[in-house]
């Protein structure tokens, strides 16, 4: 306990302050949404969100106070537990057509939210334990492949947003820890090969680029050739496999990649979200006056599209303020990660920053029709218990890791 107070004294408390301010904007939006003709029910999501701040602050203090050694020691065990928990929802009845939630006595939580940062810790441990071999391709391939296992389950929940996030997490961490850009390139190349395979011209250009990169990198000839022909093979195989799918299966995949293909579903949502934000203008329509929000044209307004509510009611000024707060928080986290003298800590702090960045960019990008992927909430602002607790836990974790030489 004394340890915790000591930590609080030296930790970058500005992060907590930023988080609380952002949280306040979330509450403001929820207050506007859930107030009907001046009446605010105790069962409303505004109060629920307010209530969730209590366990969130406990989680924050817990992960701030806990010893780094313990975190390092039990990271793989925690990952194993989360891998099991991610499978549990498949054995339960689906909620809203998905297997994302575990329900226990009226409280539901999404294991994937916790899995995200447990994976960061585990990757940090693996990469810091193997730091001397980081220049080798093997050290890069193993963590990447290891993340594919939970990704496979998450993609089937289905939660494409989180799956992509999990898949992408290892790359910035590898980069941060000093992996060769060539190796990262070789990891990402197969994905690009699959995506470009549908057009002969783009595929040809891409394969030529792969060849040039591999040639000038002076990599081992066998590895280089294997990589090159691997990509060619994948690109040629993809259209064949694609053709074997039934049209409705193809459509399902395409809608998952680009939800706006479904004009009654996501396309409608994105149009209404853009309309809400755009119609907010410079100063917004005023809290409680958003017609898109209050006449329910805007879907999922408490969770995925809460940013659109803020845009509509509070306008460009507040939107920019929120962007600035997030930008400052993330840059500051990266700065602290850079200053850290411990590789394990540095990786965790950086990972948390990247996780926030990913959520912020994908969520806001979705509301303004920049990105097709949906389903990632906005940190500290979107309604949702497990995610809010996770965000504060990550913040506590990052602050904990930022403290030098306490033990």
């Amino acid at each position: 306990m004394i340890n915790l107070i000591g930590k609080l004294r030296v930790a970058p408390l500005r992060w907590l302050f930023l988080a609380m301010v952002l949280n306040g904007f979330g509450l403001l939006a929820l207050y506007s949404i859930t107030t009907h003709s001046g009446e605010l029910l105790l069962s409303s999501r505004f109060f629920k969100h307010l209530f969730w701040m209590i366990p969130s602050l406990f989680a924050f203090l817990f992960f701030l106070g806990i010893s780094k050694r313990i975190i390092h020691k039990y990271s793989y065990a925690a990952l194993s537990v989360m891998m099991v928990l991610i499978i549990v929802p498949f054995g339960m009845s689906s909620i809203a057509g998905t297997h994302r939630w575990i329900s226990l006595g009226g409280v539901s939580f999404q294991p994937v939210e916790v899995l995200k940062w447990v994976l960061i810790i585990s990757l940090a441990r693996y990469l810091s334990d193997h730091n001397l071999e980081i220049q080798r391709l093997r050290s890069v391939v193993i963590p990447t492949v290891a993340t594919l296992v939970p990704v496979a389950f998450v993609i089937n929940q289905p939660d494409l947003g989180s799956a992509v996030l999990l898949l992408m997490l290892s790359f910035p961490l590898l980069y941060w820890v000093g992996a060769r850009p060539l190796h990262l390139f070789m990891l990402i190349a197969p994905l690009v090969s699959i995506l470009t395979a549908f057009s002969l011209i783009t595929f040809t250009i891409w394969i030529a680029a792969v060849g040039i990169v591999l040639y000038f990198s002076r990599t081992d000839l066998r590895i280089g050739l294997a990589n090159f022909f691997g990509n060619v093979f994948l690109g040629l195989l993809t259209p064949v496999l694609w053709g074997k799918l039934q049209p409705y299966q193809q459509e399902r995949v395409l809608v998952m990649l680009d939800p706006t293909r479904d004009p009654h579903g996501a396309a409608y949502q994105v149009i209404q979200s853009q309309t809400a934000i755009g119609s907010g203008g410079f100063s917004g329509k005023g809290l409680g006056n958003g017609t898109q929000t209050h006449l329910k044209f805007l879907p999922e307004q408490e969770t995925d599209f809460i940013f659109s509510v803020i845009g509509e009611e509070l306008g460009f000024v507040v939107v920019c303020l929120i962007l600035a707060l997030f930008l400052y928080l993330i840059l500051d986290i990266i700065k602290v990660a850079f200053q850290s003298s411990e590789r394990f800590s540095s990786l965790i702090i950086f990972g948390v920053g990247i996780l926030f960045l990913f959520h912020v960019f994908v969520n806001i990008g979705m509301t303004i029709n920049l990105l097709p992927v949906k389903g990632l909430p906005l940190p500290f602002i979107s309604y949702g218990g497990s995610f809010l607790v996770s965000c504060y836990a990550m913040l506590g974790l990052a602050m904990n890791m930022s403290l030098e030489g306490e033990e």
């Binding site: 309309t275 898109q292 306008g315």
Partner: protein, 590 residues
């Protein structure tokens, strides 16, 4: 274990910084585009989402007679609608309402579908609902959530009990899909009523007015959600009123006189072309059409009593019979082919080639000149007269009086009838298929000749005014100047004298219909038109003068018998009725 001697390279930190800043810059630019640059566009989109224009209906223009009495006005009927989303138990509620209305549930459901405009908008299920029924529904409104009532504007005919004028005014009908696409620019919507016949049809765009709008705020599901304060409603512009030349009292009298017959009569102001009365029997009550009519009911109406909807005055085409002898007589006089001295011997029959043509008087008229020929309507005289001319001469005169072409009255569906000329005969029978013998029938108004009662009344008006050919009209005075037909004064005088004698001299075919009053001069000609469908049609055409007023009249009673015994008395009655009632009523219509 935790310590590491290798720090993160500075360039990797800087790259990370750059990527973060770049991503935020992308978001910023896109947000700027949406919220500042395209603000107007999205503001409009948001308004378009939430603001729904609601139609306010324009009242249709009233229709007045020449004295300003209202023939057609507007009133409203109660309707019952349901809002599907608010029905808690559709089956039960509908069957309850069905009980009150005495309308089968099936019909209510059909209407619900027909007039449905979404789950959250009222769909009309019944109209013309009685006040008692409304109070029943009001009493049970707690058991009937989603059932509402409102009013609907409909036509109302205040003088209905004395004047039907059903063909003249015309009826309204609910708009069909074809009208919705056809009448562009008028802003018709489903459920609107449009003029389907008569003046309502002809003056549709004059009467209809322009719909207005007010604005309502709706939510994403289309439910009403408060007022829109920042948009001015557009008020509806009522339709223009229509002022007719009709003399209601006369119209009522003519309708009463012809009641129970298949008949038609047109009375014109001979000097101005104003239609004073236009009657076609049988007719119907327009209010029956103002009410709601099921499709099947409408079909039954149309099929079983097709006659009912027919405006005989302008669409009925009849052989004119002896009334047409006047044309032949005028042609003879004008072309100097006959005069008072030229006589023929009528023995009751006339041999032409191998055929026998008969006079209506079996024993014959004896020695007949033109005066007696017209007065007593001797066929033989005209058989002989027509042989002194050819079809071209005869047609020239028939054409002058407007036979074979429309009068141009402001009513839809007017028929032109047929006045046969050489071209027509050649086309119909072939160049050698007809002889001048065919003309014998035409001379007495039979054969291929077909006329409408309106044409006949107009013919009488031209005769009355000695050549002033004015187009008959009901609401808009024709632009074209009246064409003057110039004949010799002696021709006009003789025609007038002969037509006077038809009524006022013993032996005249309409002598029994003469008017005792000396202030009224009554002229005419009877006709008895043979037709293949049974009894002859009884015709009378003529004109009457009193003081400065002159009216023309045509009467036809289908299968009524002889013109002298059936049509002439009707005309006589109408004339007396008009002049006795209309002292000092020389109203000029704006």
């Amino acid at each position: 274990m935790l310590k590491s001697e290798i720090y993160v390279p500075v360039n990797r930190r800087n790259t990370a910084f750059s990527v973060v800043i770049l991503l935020f810059l992308i978001l910023f630019v896109k947000l700027y585009t949406l919220m500042i640059h395209s603000y107007e566009e999205f503001r409009n989109k948001a308004d378009y989402n939430r603001i729904r224009p609601v139609i306010t209906y324009a009242p249709r223009g009233n229709i007045y007679d020449r004295n300003g009495s209202v023939l057609a006005a507007n009133s409203s009927v109660y309707t019952i609608s349901v809002i599907r989303d608010e029905l808690t138990d559709t089956e039960n509620e509908l069957s309850q309402v069905s009980g009150y209305l005495n309308i089968p549930v099936k019909t209510l459901k059909k209407n619900m579908k027909k007039y449905g405009r979404g789950r959250f908008l009222p769909s009309r299920i019944a109209r013309d609902v009685k006040v008692e029924t409304l109070s029943l529904i009001e009493e049970h409104k707690n058991e009937l959530p989603g059932v509402i009532y409102s009013t609907l504007p409909v036509r109302y005919y205040p003088m209905q009990d004395s004047i039907r004028a059903s063909h003249l005014l015309g009826y309204l009908r609910e708009i069909g899909p074809s009208d919705l696409s056809r009448k562009d620019g008028r802003g018709y919507v489903g459920g609107d009523f449009i003029g389907a016949s008569g003046l309502e049809y002809f003056y549709e765009s004059h009467l209809i007015g322009d719909k207005g709008h007010y604005y309502q705020q709706v939510d994403a599901l289309g439910r009403e959600a408060g007022e829109v304060s920042d948009r001015e409603p557009i008020p509806a512009i009522p339709g223009n009123d229509l002022y007719l030349t009709i003399e209601s009292k006369l119209q009522a009298d003519v309708e009463k006189t012809l009641e129970g017959l298949k008949a038609s009569s047109v009375v014109l102001n001979a000097l101005t072309g104003e239609v004073l009365a236009m009657v076609s029997k049988p007719d119907f009550r327009l209010s029956d059409f103002a009410g709601f009519m099921e499709d099947e009911e409408w079909q039954r109406f149309q099929n079983s009593r097709e006659d009912l909807l027919l405006n005989r005055a302008i669409t009925g085409r009849y052989p004119p019979g002896s009334a047409m002898k006047l044309v032949t007589a005028i042609a003879g006089l004008e072309e100097k082919l006959t005069n008072l001295d030229w006589t023929v011997e009528c023995t009751g029959s006339y041999y032409y080639g191998d055929r026998v043509f008969r006079c209506w008087k079996e024993e014959g008229h004896g020695k007949v000149n033109i005066s007696k020929g017209v007065k007593e309507s001797c066929n033989i005289y005209f058989y002989q007269l027509i042989q002194r001319m050819d079809i071209d001469i005869w047609f020239k005169y028939a054409n002058l009086f407007g036979f074979g072409s429309k009068t141009g009255i402001d009513l839809p569906q007017e028929k032109s009838g047929i006045a046969p000329n050489r071209k027509f005969m050649n086309r119909k029978y072939g160049k050698r298929g007809w002889t001048s013998g065919t003309l014998l029938n035409i001379s007495i108004g039979q054969g291929d000749l077909l006329v409408t009662p309106l044409q006949m009344s107009r013919f009488a008006a031209i005769l009355a005014t000695k050549g002033k050919n004015i187009a008959p009209w009901l609401a808009s005075r024709p632009n074209a100047q009246a064409k003057k037909i110039s004949f010799k004064k002696s021709t006009w005088d003789l025609i007038h004298e002969m037509m006077f004698n038809v009524i006022n001299k013993p032996g005249g075919t309409a002598y029994s219909s003469r008017i005792a009053s000396t202030s009224i001069e009554f002229y005419g000609k009877t006709g008895t038109a043979q037709n293949p469908r049974g009894e002859a049609h009884a015709w009378f055409i003529g004109f009457a003068k009193k003081g400065s007023q002159t009216i023309s009249i045509s009467v036809i009673v289908e299968n009524g018998g002889t013109g002298g015994s059936v049509a002439a008395p009707v005309a006589s009655k109408i004339v007396q009725s008009y002049f006795n009632e209309s002292e000092a009523q020389e109203l000029v219509i704006k």
